[in-house]
Amino acid sequence: MPFDIEFVENPEHRCPVVLLLDTSGSMSGEPINELNAGLAIFKQEVERDTTASLRVEVAIITFDSSVDILQDFVTIDKFYPPQLTASGMTAMGQGIELALNEVENRKAIYKSNGIQYYQPWVLLITDGGPSDSWQSAAQRVRQAYADRKINFFAVGVQGADMNILGQIAPVNTPPLMLKGLQFEGLFRWLSQSVKTVSSNKVVGGQTSLSPTSGWAQTNT
């Protein structure tokens, strides 16, 4: 095992965020460029808050024809946004399963290091529909949400199958449709929300989020 002093060096509570990103062929061109820009903004925004940059940990999982952990969990100060490229199919089901597994693995690591953590976030961004089987993944998402294991947000980009997203995302946090290619607004919102969550006390069962009107379509 490599000698790792990550948690000794930074014993802050952690707020894990998984970005589950669709890099299938249909995302190529403008959408993937905007998404890349959005990731850079996310880093920049979270980093403005010193505490949050030590608490928020981001992991990036991409799904196209296969599923990849492009970036394992890392605190924002050590996160360098990747340049995503798009091609292939949409293995969304597998992607979701991997994201949920990764969250659980990460929690186990926190526990073994005596690090406390906030409710993990999973943000799914897609512009299509799953090309693999997604039903069991959807069930796991809803179960995990009901057990307060995760916060799950699904965001559809133009062309996304909102019907299936609606069956994956928990009823309390229905999928949102991105206005145009407002990835910038989306990631500003995400950074604001995780900053708030990682510094304030909340009552069990209540999640107060910043308004999404800046980037999400109102009637989906």
């Binding site: 509570h13 980093e47 403005r48 010193t50 505490t51 005596g114 406390q116 953590y117 906030y118 409710q119 307060r148 708030t196 969550v197 990682s198 510094s199 304030n200 006390k201 909340v202 009552v203 069990g204 209540q206 107060s208």
Partner: protein, 451 residues
């Protein structure tokens, strides 16, 4: 033997930086005779807009209800008996918060806060806890014990509020028949230091023992003890471990030598610690003239002491930047402070100096090395926001002063030249003298007064 009790809240650095008020609240009372105490602390939740109002009201209501029902008159038979007592307390608190929310035009969730309260006599103790926080007790001859496990689930930032619909079910109560010598109620701001979490939240003796022995059992005055606690809560030592508000309420049962303090004061009101509370005027006890004088003397001493330490600390801080400032602090505006340093990002550091005054709180923010701004907020302002921004020239710049003197001298020379041109002979000397006199008095006297 009798009880002594001291407590205070200190604002967390994240609230200083964010310009939000301290959301913790604490209050307590010694029932005449010194054998019974009641106390309460509350932690307003950061996610709730007006939890600072909520926590204060929760604490105030809990104490007044415990007083009304004289909860100390008979020891509850068992935990169920205690549940009955505290059920009524919690219901009163909920009702008060609901009313406040209606009157204030916000939702009751905006007042979300926790509540810890207890009543203690020499023979028994009963307590309630809703949400997180801690009550640590030490029975005679025993070790420090945690009364309730903190109400925290998997996540450290999720807990129960007194306003929650399930608060009555989630509340933890107990009654213990033992002679306790030490009780400490605290919000979760200090839990990282006070408890060994890996060891099932065992209270850390290294934390509580010094508090009990060096502060509670010392022969110092209550004012002094309370100031020590506040200094401790505001110390960098603590601020490095938490950016949250923190509150400590300490009680000791012992043969105190500084007895006069305990009996004559229903409740201690030193100038330093209660700035977060809205009830200062009503709570100050009427006292005899002699007491008043000695109390005034004590306050004056503590102010002088504070000013001395603040001055030293500012000088010390700035010395780190290679600056030797002359610091003069007016006593009318402050009695307490803290200085902490936080790294904002790779370029800026923020040094914060907090001062709390008898009637208003002030925050001095050292934004740049040469500039200090005071943000002040007074009790009467409903929002507790930073309303005034006063620039304080903390570092009288020698170069600037010299430049002013040279400019004045040059100006005077010029004017004298003109006078000499227009008034020939001796009269010009007299006119120059009168002019100089007027100018010097204009410049000099205001400066003297300010100093």
């Amino acid at each position: 033997m009798q009880w002594q009790i001291v407590g205070c809240s200190a604002i967390g650095t994240k609230h200083i930086t964010g310009g939000t008020p301290c959301q913790d609240a604490v209050d307590y009372e010694i029932i005449p005779g010194g054998q019974i105490i009641i106390g309460a602390v509350s932690d307003g939740m950061g996610s709730a807009r007006r939890s600072d109002v909520g926590s204060k009201l929760a604490v105030k209501t809990a104490l007044s209800q415990m007083n009304n029902i004289k909860c100390w008159q008979s020891k509850p038979k068992n935990d169920e008996g205690a549940r009955e007592i505290f059920w009524s307390v919690l219901e009163k608190v909920q009702a008060a918060l609901k009313k406040q929310a209606e009157n204030g035009g916000y939702s009751v969730e905006d007042l979300n806060c926790t509540l810890l309260a207890f009543v203690a006599t020499p023979q028994w103790l009963a307590a309630i806890q809703v949400g997180d926080g801690q009550i640590v007790v030490r029975p005679k001859g025993g070790n420090y014990q945690l009364l309730f496990m903190p109400d925290k689930g998997e996540y450290p930032n999720v807990t129960t509020s007194v306003t929650s619909s399930h608060a009555l079910e989630k509340m933890q109560v107990c009654v213990k028949s033992a002679s306790y010598e030490f009780i400490c109620a605290a919000t979760d701001g200090i839990e990282n230091i006070s408890h060994i979490k890996r060891d099932n939240w065992k209270p850390s003796e290294g934390f509580f023992k010094p508090l009990e022995e060096q502060i509670m059992l010392s022969t110092k005055s209550l004012t002094h003890k309370e100031k020590e606690i506040e200094d401790f809560l505001n110390s960098e030592q603590i601020n490095q471990k938490t950016d949250d508000d923190k509150t400590l309420l300490l009680c000791g049962y012992s043969e105190f030598t500084n007895v006069e303090n305990t009996v004559s004061q229903k409740k201690l009101q030193p100038p330093t610690a209660k700035t977060q509370q809205s009830t200062i005027p009503e709570k100050v006890q009427p006292s005899t003239p002699e007491n008043k004088i000695s109390k005034q003397q004590e306050i004056q001493d503590s102010i002088d002491y504070e000013i001395g330490t603040i001055t030293d600390r500012i000088v010390e801080k700035l010395a780190a930047y290679g600056i030797t400032p002359e610091v003069k602090i007016e006593q009318s505006c402050l009695v307490c402070d803290l200085i902490s340093e936080r790294i904002l990002n790779d370029k800026n550091r923020l040094s914060e100096i907090v001062r709390k005054a008898v009637v208003e709180s002030k925050i001095l923010r050292l934004t740049k090395i040469k500039e200090i701004e005071v943000y002040s907020f007074t009790k009467n302002d409903k929002n507790y926001l930073w309303l005034k921004k006063i620039n304080v020239g903390l570092l009288p710049n020698k170069f600037l002063e010299i430049a002013i003197v040279i400019t004045i001298a040059a100006g005077m020379t010029l004017i004298f030249g003109l006078i000499k041109t227009f008034f020939a002979g001796n009269s010009s000397i007299i006119i120059c003298f009168i002019f100089s006199l007027a100018l010097i008095s204009c410049i000099w006297f205001p400066r003297v007064r300010r100093d």
